[in-house]
Amino acid sequence: MSMLANQLSFSYGDKNILKNLDFKFSASEIVGIIGPNGAGKSTIIKLLSKVLKPSYGFVSIDGNNISEMSRMDLAKQVAVVAQSAELPESFRVEEIVLMGRSPHIGFFSSEREKDYRIVEEVMQRTDVFKFRTRRIATLSGGERQRVVLARALAQEPKYLLLDEPTNHLDLNYSIDLLRFLKQEAQNGLAVLIILHDLNLASRVCDRILVVEDGQLVGQGKTEEVISELLIKNVFRTDVKIIWDNENKISAIVPSI
């Protein structure tokens, strides 16, 4: 069960944003996307969620080209947590999370018992149940992020795409989120996550995709891809990598 990008390319006018990306990610793994700002990382997620159409290449899920799928069918499998997901201020938390059931309910039917059950369960898991009747306007940035996560999980996706979800979160919430994702991946979820923080990426991701200037310049297991040399080439800075006993990256230390 995997999501695959084949020669995925995207141009805007004559500006080439992404060139010939080939990658895939599957159930029960967390794949991270790292790279400098402006490298085109967010565009990847937009292409995978059919917000944008590729200029060349395609995206497929289990062999099915997503361009031939309806948005609704795609939304039953793929959910997105965007970094700046703006939410309308006057809706209540539970109403927003319930919107995540739309792909399964359709637009002309009503919510059923099952939908309310799933929404409740998902709100408990993301710890937003306690303020489910509050309006979005009264929530902090971190709390809103968790609401968006709850909504995404309410879609019961097989593939979860996250675009820098830890940007507005305090450290404890960031760590909570990543631990949560690790748990979900163990339960079968396929996770693709854009992360800014290389330390967090190296701790939580099984595999890493390195995107620079619209191209994939590195792909593979975290320990094999992240190296002092790569970081020097892609991010143009010197770091020291500390390894732990199990040959996993313990820390990426900048030289300040």
């Binding site: 969620s49 059919k50 309806s70 609704m72 209540r92 919107m99 995540g100 739309s102 637009f107 309310y116």
Partner: protein, 343 residues
């Protein structure tokens, strides 16, 4: 097994409110049709309606109610309701509380058509029949068509283009209307009266011409209520939740615009209703379109029936154009909104 459901108490409260508004509308209609140069008590109003339905008009009051006042009140209710739900649809699609159904040139096109018909085709008894509405409807369609053509760019229609094209087409048609008024000076007052809105020449025929548009738009919007909610997340998130955003927007805008053109063609330009009523509904009932649509429909109907009542009684036997009444209410309403937002 938990009992969680989104606030069932609030849901039934909203339902009660809608029932209340529906009853209020019926009461308002009965009272409004009873008021006029001949005061007719509610009991006789109901009797007159019954006689009219069973094709058994006997008393003078029956005729006053059935031929004159009832179609007028019903048309006011229909137009008020239609403008309100169209306004709601526009605000939902454009995600802007200042969007109104005249954004795409409907009003200016209709005005030009009406001015043209009144000034240059008076020999045919157009005004009381459907001739004038048809011409004004066609011109409003032309205006919207031009707006869409001008706004087209790169196989897409960006919102900013739509708005700018609306301004361009709108001001051109307005200029045309003014020109006609200056040229056909003797008809200028008639044209102006039409422009400011009036239900004085209501008829069952006019009612029947607008009703199909209304029903289609109302049913479509009720079906689209959850999708409209989803759209408030922004287009990107709505797409990611399964909504075919572009086609959805196109269908809603086209139908709301057509319905607005139909309403304007029989009543003239009645401003503020499409802007105020959805706002008021939102302030009182929150952002859920499943509630907003019926509430706006009922509130708009009640509002315009009352406004029309005022329009024809305040300086009786003269009438104030109803557009003036709605503007007089609209100003303070927006002032109130402004003050509220500052808090």
């Amino acid at each position: 097994m938990s009992e969680f459901k989104p606030k069932p108490a609030a849901n039934s409260l909203r339902f009660m409110a809608i029932i209340f508004l529906a009853l209020a509308l019926i009461v308002v209609l009965i009272i409004a049709t009873g008021i006029g140069s001949v005061a007719i008590p509610p009991g006789q109003v109901v009797a007159a309606v019954w006689h009219g339905i069973s094709n058994n008009l006997v008393a003078v009051n029956d005729i006053i109610i059935w031929k004159i006042r009832l179609p007028r009140a019903l048309l006011a209710a229909l137009v008020g309701s239609l403008l309100s739900i169209s306004g709601l649809a526009y605000q939902g699609i454009f995600r802007n509380p200042l969007a109104d159904p005249y954004l795409l040139g409907v009003a200016s096109g209709a005005s030009f058509g009406a001015a043209f018909a009144i000034a240059f085709l008076p020999s045919i008894p157009l005004v009381a029949s459907l001739g004038l509405p048809i011409i004004s409807f066609l011109f409003s369609l032309l205006a919207v068509f031009l707006v869409v053509i001008f706004a087209f760019s790169n196989n897409k229609i960006p919102i900013i283009n739509l708005i700018l094209a609306g301004v361009v087409v709108g001001s051109s048609f307005s200029a045309g209307t003014s020109f006609i008024m200056i040229t056909a000076k003797d008809r200028a007052v008639n044209i102006l009266a039409w422009l400011l809105g009036s239900f004085s020449l209501s008829s069952w025929a006019k009612l029947a011409s607008v009703l199909p548009f209304y029903i289609i738009v109302l049913v479509l919007l009720m079906l689209s209520a959850r999708a409209l909610n989803l759209l408030q997340l922004g287009e990107e998130q709505a797409m990611q939740l399964g909504l075919p955003v572009s086609s959805f927007k196109a269908v809603i805008i086209v139908l709301a615009t057509l319905a607005t053109a139909a309403a304007v063609s029989v009543s003239g330009i009645i401003g503020f209703v499409g802007l105020m009523v959805p706002h008021a509904a939102r302030l009182a009932f929150g952002p859920d379109h499943r509630v907003l649509i019926p509430v706006s429909a009922l509130l708009g109907a009640i509002f315009l029936v009352l406004a029309d009542l005022l329009a024809r009684t305040i300086i009786s036997p003269e009438e104030i154009p109803i557009g003036i009444i709605t503007a007089l209410v609209g100003g303070p309403f927006f002032l109130y909104l402004l003050k509220k937002a500052e808090l």
